[in-house]
């Protein structure tokens, strides 16, 4: 299954300081100036087959959003413990006993294609 948690990012570039704008960290500048190739790469990682017109539109929009959200770095976050969840998380377990669950027919009811009580999917490997 494709992951949307990429482990690499291509297309990193160095960008010099821009005149007339507040000084921002180099990485932040790069982020705000996402290129069309960057967006195409991200769309690939996210498994969305964007058209050329969509890519063109999204580059500009993402640039504006990224510049705005990048301001999180200006908060006094030095040494602050990151918070991933609003409540303390505890692991929840239950007794290991069988309980009612969906039958195969119900589970497959929404499948685009099913065969022999299984999800039928396109090929997942190249043929050669």
């Amino acid at each position: 299954m494709a992951s949307t948690l990429p482990t690499c990012h291509k297309g990193q570039r160095t960008v010099g300081p821009r005149q007339g704008l507040p000084r921002i960290p180099p990485r932040l500048a790069r982020m705000a100036e996402l290129s069309r190739d960057d967006v195409a790469h991200l769309a690939g990682l996210a498994r969305i087959d964007l058209s050329d017109a969509e890519l063109d539109k999204m580059v500009g929009e993402l640039g504006v959003i990224l510049e705005s959200v990048a301001t999180v770095q200006q908060s006094p976050i030095e040494g602050v413990e990151p918070m991933s969840h609003p409540m303390p998380l505890v692991n929840v377990t239950r007794p290991d006993v069988v309980r009612p669950s969906l039958g195969a027919e119900a589970a497959l009811a929404g499948a685009p294609e099913a065969d022999q009580q299984r999800f039928s999917v396109p090929r997942i490997l190249d043929e050669d």
């Binding site: 990429p6 969305i48 990151p82 998380l89 294609e113």
Partner: protein, 510 residues
């Protein structure tokens, strides 16, 4: 008590039903007739389950006749946001990728409505996967604000706010990830609560951002919200983040409506600049009403709230990009084959399907989230946002040492016109500036109508925020404020909304 069944509150309907002065079938039919008359204009529903609702109503009427002890809200109809899985009823989340999907199971919230004997009228419209503040991002067309059909009903839960504001249902289920219950309530003159995170089960709620999402009630009165909150809430073993404690005493608090001696904190960062004059004026009056009711007002500062929007728009897309990875064209939902390929791979089918099935805003946020989580950027962006989230939670903790509840206007403006912000994502995101901090910290919040803004005659909302697990304070303060506002208006604010399709409504004869 009003005799128009479509305008009656859920509490009044429950009363009439228990006294045998009306039947659930009569109420359900009246609401369905109202939908026939007005929803062509409002478009609050994506799906109406006429037969299912009437079947439940008939069953409840028969059981009541037989003398069975029923839940207080038995027979009172409700609408459900289309993000909640409903067995046998379409659930699209406002997206083409789920068009025609019929879930094989019920969300826990839906199970509880059914256990209480509440007829489910239908599924309400929303921005696709709850991403938006206007319903303009619904793949099935926007919902219109009953106050002005040229204006947005808020979002993402604009269908749920409009359905109660247009008297098609006394109650609706909403979900709130950054304000999607409270902002729609504010711009439609209705009431909405986002409970404490974990207070209502998320099982069967199609996740947008799992650490922020929370379902809650959408109603026309504070007491109705409390009654529905009580039905929806409580521990669920199927949701590992569900709080294992009884539902706070929200109904009792709403009935008591007592704020004497309470400290009400005005959040300095959520007033004044950036808020429409009429919205601010109605908020100031609301504060004065609370003072008149015996509360004490203090000013509190939450300096990190100014960074909440930025943190939210890193955390939400990050979680959403992960949650929406499940729409892979393999097990349910849309499958689109890429053009020009004889034997496409699963990956190519997935990419073609997600391009065809997701709308612009969903794609934008998935790609933004994919980027924020990328190696090399993770610490700088997602990591920084998580630290800001901590600062916001700390701000709340300090503020709640000085005040029992916090108050602010719910949204910076009244309802805007369709198209005004659709091409400017950042302007759209700013609608949630006052509601987002509560989701980041997990604390409960409520919006209730504060009046009409002078400049445009449209509803404004007052937001109340309470510490985690102290949801009952929202209802104590909300009910006290509502009482005084109703007295000053001489009746419900929605009584001043223009009549919808009056001619057609009359000819249908409810």
């Amino acid at each position: 008590m009003t005799t128009d069944l479509t305008r009656a509150s859920a509490a009044d309907l429950a009363d009439l039903l228990s006294k045998g002065e009306t039947s659930s079938v009569e109420v359900t039919q009246a609401l369905l007739n109202r939908t026939d008359a007005v929803d062509g204009d409002v478009h609050a529903y994506l799906h109406v389950d006429r037969e299912g609702a009437l079947a439940t109503a008939r069953d409840i009427d028969a059981r009541r006749q037989a003398g069975e002890q029923l839940h207080q809200l038995a027979g009172v109809p409700i609408a459900v946001k289309d993000v909640m899985a409903t067995q046998g009823l379409p659930t699209t989340c406002g997206s083409k990728i789920l068009e025609g999907w019929i879930p094989p199971y019920d969300a826990t919230v839906v199970t509880r409505l059914k256990q209480a004997g509440m007829p489910i009228l239908g599924k309400t419209n929303m921005d696709e996967f709850a991403m938006g503040s206007s319903t303009e991002h619904s793949a099935y067309g926007p919902t219109r604000n009953p106050w002005d059909l040229e204006r947005i009903p808020g979002g993402s839960g604009g269908g749920s706010s409009a359905v109660v504001a247009s008297f098609q249902a006394p109650l609706a289920i909403g979900t709130d990830t950054g304000g999607s219950i409270r902002q729609p309530a504010a711009v439609t003159g209705t009431v909405g609560t986002k409970p404490t995170y974990g207070g209502v089960s998320r099982y069967g709620l199609v996740a947008l951002a799992s650490s922020l999402d929370q379902a809650g009630p959408c109603t026309r009165t504070v007491l109705d919200a409390a009654l529905l909150h009580e039905v929806m809430g409580g521990h669920d073993p199927l949701d590992s983040t569900s709080i294992n404690a009884p539902v706070p005493a929200v109904v009792e608090a709403a009935r008591r409506a007592d704020v004497k001696g309470m400290k009400i904190g005005i959040v300095r960062e959520l007033t004044g600049e950036g808020f429409q004059a009429g919205v601010q004026a109605r908020f100031d009056e609301s504060v004065q009403h609370l003072v008149d009711a015996g509360a004490e007002v203090v000013e509190v500062s939450c300096p990190s709230f100014t960074a909440a929007l930025a943190a939210y728009y890193l955390i939400l897309p990050s979680e959403a990009s992960s949650n929406l990875a499940k729409f892979d064209a393999m097990r349910y939902g849309l499958r689109v084959l890429p053009e020009g390929l004889d034997d496409p791979s699963a990956e190519q089918v997935m990419a073609a399907t997600r391009d065809a099935g997701f709308g612009d805003e969903v794609k934008r946020r998935i790609i933004l989230g994919t980027y924020a989580l990328s190696s090399g950027y993770y610490d700088a962006y997602y990591g920084s946002a998580q630290k800001v989230r901590r600062l916001i939670a700390d701000d709340f903790n300090r503020a709640f040492e000085a005040a029992d509840v916090l108050v602010s206007p719910t949204a910076p403006t009244t309802a805007f016109k369709f198209g005004d912000k659709i091409d400017d994502p950042m302007a759209m995101y700013l609608n949630d500036v006052a509601t987002i901090p509560a989701n980041l910290a997990g604390v409960p919040g409520m919006s209730l109508p504060s009046g009409l803004a002078d400049e445009d005659g449209l509803p404004a909302g007052c937001q109340i925020l309470a510490p985690a697990a102290a949801d009952e304070r929202l209802y104590a303060v909300g009910a006290a404020l509502e009482q005084r506002l109703l007295a000053s208006w001489g009746g419900p604010l929605l009584g001043r909304a223009p009549e919808l399709s009056a001619a057609r409504s009359t000819s249908m004869g409810a």
